[in-house]
Symmetry: C2
Subunit: 344 residues, 2 copies
């Protein structure tokens, strides 16, 4: 078998805090990757790689172990979700030429040993990159979180933080399709404009411009919030608690404002959960992958009919992978952040 | 109509913080209470009056308004749950001689104008005082919180704070009847002994003896907690979050450690709700009173068969009402706190 030249994005040492330029680097490996005789592994060519909270999470040592995931380890390519093409398969469910999305490594070519989180792509008449976002794990997260956790009803008041992220975009559009009033928060004017003009949110605001989050929420929700889809935790969650309506639901999807703090900020308004009879629920998309085909049956027609759109922030070339990670981590991306392994 | 001598427990001024001796006092009123012509009010003789978090709550000004309740007002008898006998009725659903439980006032005789929260007592072959607790609002709270909010399963690990309170006692016994492992916390050795020896809890501990609540919980729950029935909030809730199991449920019933603080303590471990996919839910027993008869059908046989027991802390005589409130508020009561209006 011929040698491959394999560009890789390598973790130098476990992250402590947000990633710094020195934490990850690119190297070109020369390997003879092949599927070992008798194994069920796949050799794949990675096409798109996804930047998301999980990616950073898996680069940390001693972070809460998530069931089902391998950690990134120093000296090896970082681990995350991606879209790939199968070059060689030892697994009966996959064959050469299949397109797949799931857990892979940040490099041009990977040997995927565990296919626990790997899905075959059947609809390739939509942008393939969407399988890192709208039609992949983030999309499933939005779908599950909104329909299964938030128990939405028509005309309810819905608030989404980090609303232009890979998940938030879809939550907002699903809520609009249901006839809800939808407001999103994000971290720049450009993102806010995108939410209102391109994604059809009723309102959006830049949380960095608001000194008093409680007052901001009272302005956008004079009658209160029925559903909060939380990506950030911390001060925003605390302010939202003051503005929830009786019987409200909070989907706890992430708390990105907290992950890099030595000690998480205190949340002071939890008695509101009692006074207003609110349900707050954390969830884990992997427990819902049995709904993936139902999800696609809903989403793919929406995408083809233009009823749902999706904003992506694509970095071209795996050699720019570290820069994409830093850009994402700093919140400079506008839309779902991903890397196109080979420049188009 | 003859004049009544009517001993009353009067609120001097709205509470700010825990009640002090000077906040409530006894006076003897002379009135000619009667049901006004054409009204649907009831004239009742109060038999038992209940000390519980709601009682203190309704004595505060500017506390979160609870739907369906009147506030206690300075110069008037304090408002709370009690058991009463109907002396005169303008309401078609009640007649002279009926025993009732629900919202009344702390005095010997009351004119009850709103019967929104008033239930006729049909089973009088159990201690009548139980209708302030086991068979009244606290019992319903336990029943609803456990079966409707906690979604319990056999052999799960259940933790209850303030476990010898009016609600906690029943939660623990319902959990034991379901085959769960049950641990309670309380604030004295006497209470802890009662939980283990009289109520059949598997374990119990005095939270005041534990400098490290996380370590204490790890000792009693080496495999973690599936269900937490929270009455206290604050540091205990924060420690419990670290010890919850995947898929756990937290019924948020009260946060008595917080109500008298100017600013509630921060809860730092909410990311656990995400990592462990936990549901935390506040609830309000009044939304479930349609289940009251089903509740009685379950509970009354248990009580008669001795499968469920109940510890009461009874203060005799309404003239000792203020002392009972202070005793309750300081946690000195052992079991459900109530006042027997007339000494037996």
């Amino acid at each position: 078998m011929a040698e491959f030249s394999n560009k890789q994005v390598i973790l130098r040492d476990y992250l402590s805090g947000p990633p710094k330029e020195s934490d990850i680097y690119v190297r070109t490996d020369t390997t003879r990757l092949k599927v070992p005789q008798g194994s069920k592994a796949l050799l794949v060519n990675n096409l798109y790689l996804s930047c998301e909270p999980l990616l950073l999470f898996l680069m940390k040592k001693g972070a809460q172990q998530l069931p089902g995931y391998a950690f990134s380890t120093p000296g090896s390519p970082i681990i995350g979700y991606g879209v790939s093409k199968v070059l060689e398969s030892g697994h009966p469910d996959f064959k050469e030429g299949d397109l797949v999305w799931g857990i892979t490594q940040w490099e041009e070519y990977s040997l995927i040993r565990s296919t626990d989180i790997l899905f075959k792509i059947h609809h390739s008449d939509v942008p393939l990159s969407y399988y890192t976002g709208l039609l992949g794990m983030p999309g499933m997260t939005a779908y599950v979180g909104f329909y299964e956790i938030c128990s939405p009803k028509r005309e309810e008041y819905v608030f989404i933080s980090s609303a232009l992220g890979g998940v938030g975009q879809l939550v907002g559009q699903l809520a609009k399709l249901m006839g809800c009033y939808v407001v999103g928060s994000a971290g720049s004017k450009e993102k806010v404009d995108m939410l209102k003009k391109k994604l059809g949110f009723d309102e959006a605001f830049n949380y960095k411009d608001e000194h008093d989050l409680d007052a901001a929420l009272k302005k956008y929700f004079p009658r209160g919030i029925d559903i909060y889809f939380d990506h950030v935790g911390g001060k925003m969650l605390d302010a939202v608690l003051l503005n929830m309506r009786v019987g409200g639901r909070i989907a706890l999807c992430g708390m990105i404002s907290q992950y890099d703090l030595d000690r998480h900020e205190g949340i002071h308004n939890l008695t509101q959960l009692i006074y207003k009879q609110i349900r707050a629920e954390g969830f884990y998309v992997n427990n819902y992958f049995h709904l993936y085909h139902k999800f696609l049956d809903t989403l793919v027609p929406y995408v083809k009919e233009g009823k749902i759109t999706y904003v992506e922030d694509i970095t071209e070339g795996i050699e720019n992978g570290p820069a994409a990670v830093l850009r994402y981590s700093s919140g400079l991306n506008v839309g779902k952040s991903l890397v196109a392994v080979a420049p188009s």
